[in-house]
């Protein structure tokens, strides 16, 4: 019986592609030859199950929505809440918003206001850029660290 003709270079290239693309498995078939490469299972590193199993806080009411990174957040610079409070996008009701999606903003320019204890805190742009996303609406409660806008 003939020996396997192992194309080591093909294995290495597919393994590299697996790593690069982050996929779980690549199967390459050519006529009656086939090469399949699977990712190694993640280490079990089981996070303690107690947290997951413990009674979860009831779905947070609006006020207590947990800080979440929006999809695609990695692509821009997030603007996060430096204090818990209530968001306002306009200086006063009826007036236009400080900024809108697509606006070009400069470092230090006010993006929105967070009211905490009757004090209106202006939240400045942390860098020059364009407003890519506005993730909150006027009147929304926000937690410390919650992402408010994405600049890009």
């Amino acid at each position: 019986m003939s020996r396997f003709a192992i194309d080591e270079d093909a294995v290495r290239r597919l393994a590299g592609l697996l790593e690069e693309t982050g996929v779980g498995e690549i199967e390459y078939r050519d006529g009656d030859r086939c090469l399949r490469i699977s990712a190694r299972a993640a280490a079990p590193a089981a996070p303690p199950a107690i947290p997951a199993a413990a009674p979860q806080p009831a779905p947070a009411a609006d006020p207590a929505a947990p800080p979440q990174q929006p999809p695609g957040a990695a692509e821009g610079t997030p603007v996060t809440a430096p204090i818990v409070g209530t968001v306002y996008l306009q200086p006063e009701p009826g007036q236009p918003a400080f900024v809108q999606v697509g606006d070009r903003v400069q470092t230090g320019q006010t993006l929105l206001i967070i009211e905490a204890m009757k004090v209106y805190n202006q939240i400045p742009a942390p860098c020059d850029g364009v407003v890519r996303q506005v993730l909150v609406s006027s009147g929304d409660p926000v937690e410390y660290g919650e992402t408010l806008m994405i600049l890009g």
């Binding site: 806080p57 207590a64 905490a116 660290g145």
Partner: protein
């Protein structure tokens, strides 16, 4: 009763308050710093709000963040717990000014009791004798000498704004007085920004006895007996028990009724604790804590009264559901403060708890926010659990304490469980024969 209470605290005391709220059907809002986002008090609350970074100054001590969190969560009351802002009169005022109920006494009472000289004066007026000494800050060394001669040596020089043993010096003879005054003033200025000092009689080997009181807005003020907190290290309580091995029922009733009458006359509201040094004959008032105490469970175990529930009832304007005559003292309870620290060096030991198994069975209560896999952050108090036992009598309670300590498993961080095991096995402790210096002597000898 309140619909929703925000708990301006963390750890086991936050959990304690959440449990009382749940028992009453009140919704709870936990607040947390970023490092506490997975903490037990967050998991067990109905809602949670992240209020800042780990540093207490920017989170659990930030009045703006706490009040703002109460606003966005729609809470109607704030429970301060203990530590952090629990005895800050400004916080009580700010909470009230923003339309929330502060679950605690009035800002005025908090402020008065926060100033040691003012507290002694206020208590003197309502019939509670402080430790003999100056009625106010001593102005100069001559006045100090005159007062010291009057009460007799040894005397203690203490900072008016003091606490935790800082700004405190003993003068055993007249020759030592001037140096003691100078050292105490310098320590007080450095620690509290307030160099005022006063003079007290130094009581040699007293017990620390404190009386738990509850007062509602309908004129009812009662006491729930004493706790003996003499087992201390560097003025930090380590083990507490009720009743005190040193008091009998008539002494208990005597000092208890005087304490209840005093808070009634003060118009005090809520839970409070009057602390005394007891020299075997007289009770000398030292201070009043205007909040829940760490060691409140021992009182709960012997009286069956849920102190946090009554705090909530009183703050909501309700009436205490029992009178002094209804309060019964049943059996004996002991609490151990379990700290994340080396049992011998007392160096704090934050970190991840890998394994956690609390003791169980009859007469055992554990108040702790620990769980396997949780983090004990380095930013906060090292108290991680309170083991409380109850038995029909003191020997049974001590036996249960030893049994429960042996069952307790905390792996991943150092704890002082071994210190507690040593105390529980000690002959003096088993005999109830100790004063406030006993533990330090015992540790030196051990």
């Amino acid at each position: 009763m309140f619909e929703k209470v925000l708990i301006a605290n963390r750890g086991e005391i936050a959990l304690r308050i959440i449990r009382a709220c749940r028992d009453l059907g009140i919704r709870t809002v936990a607040v947390h710093s970023t490092i506490d986002s997975e903490a037990m008090h967050v998991r067990l609350a109905d809602e949670s709000v992240c209020i800042g970074p780990p540093a207490p100054r920017d989170s659990y001590l930030s009045m703006a963040a706490l009040v703002s969190a109460a606003s966005v969560a729609g809470a109607d009351a704030i429970h301060p717990g203990l530590g952090f802002l629990a005895e800050n009169p400004t916080f009580a005022q700010v909470v009230t000014d923003h339309g929330f109920t502060f679950i605690g006494p009035s800002p005025e009472h908090i402020a008065t009791m926060g100033d040691k000289i003012a507290a002694k004066a206020a208590m003197s007026e309502v019939g509670i004798s402080p430790v003999p000494g100056s009625d106010a800050a001593v102005e100069d060394d001559a006045e100090a000498a005159q007062i010291a001669d009057g009460i007799g040596y040894p005397v203690l020089v203490k900072a008016a704004a003091g606490g935790g043993g800082r700004g405190m010096q003993i003068a055993r003879t007249p020759a030592n007085l001037a140096p003691a005054l100078g050292l105490a003033r310098r320590e007080a200025a450095g620690a509290f920004g307030d160099s005022r000092v006063f003079i007290e009689k130094f009581i040699e080997n007293p017990r620390h006895i404190e009386i738990q009181v509850l007062a509602d807005s309908h004129g009812n003020a009662i006491h729930l007996g004493e706790r003996d907190c003499s087992i201390q290290r560097r003025h930090q309580k380590v083990v507490e028990e009720a009743p005190s091995p040193a008091l009998d029922a008539s002494q208990r009733a005597g000092i208890g009724e005087r304490a209840a009458a005093a808070v009634r006359r003060l118009g005090y509201l809520g839970a409070g604790t009057l602390e005394f040094l007891y020299d075997g004959r007289d009770f000398h008032f030292i201070e009043m804590n205007t909040r829940l105490q760490v060691e409140h469970p021992v009182t709960e175990m012997v009286t069956g009264v849920d102190l946090v529930r009554e705090q909530l009832t009183i703050a909501a304007g309700g009436e205490l559901p029992f009178r002094q005559a209804d309060v019964r003292f049943d059996g004996h309870a002991i609490e151990c403060r379990v700290n994340a620290e080396d049992a011998r060096t007392f160096v704090p030991s934050p970190g991840r708890v890998r394994e956690y198994h609390p003791p169980g069975g009859p007469g055992v209560r554990v108040d702790s926010a620990l769980f396997a896999g949780c983090i004990v952050p380095p930013y906060y108090d090292s108290l991680i659990a309170k083991l409380v036992v109850h038995g029909p009598d003191r020997p049974t309670a001590v036996a249960r304490l030893a049994r429960a300590l042996d069952e307790y498993v905390i792996v991943g961080i150092d704890t002082n469980l071994d210190l507690h095991r040593g105390i529980a096995a000690d002959g003096d402790f088993n005999g109830g024969a100790y004063d406030i210096h006993w533990l330090e002597r015992w540790m030196d000898g051990a």
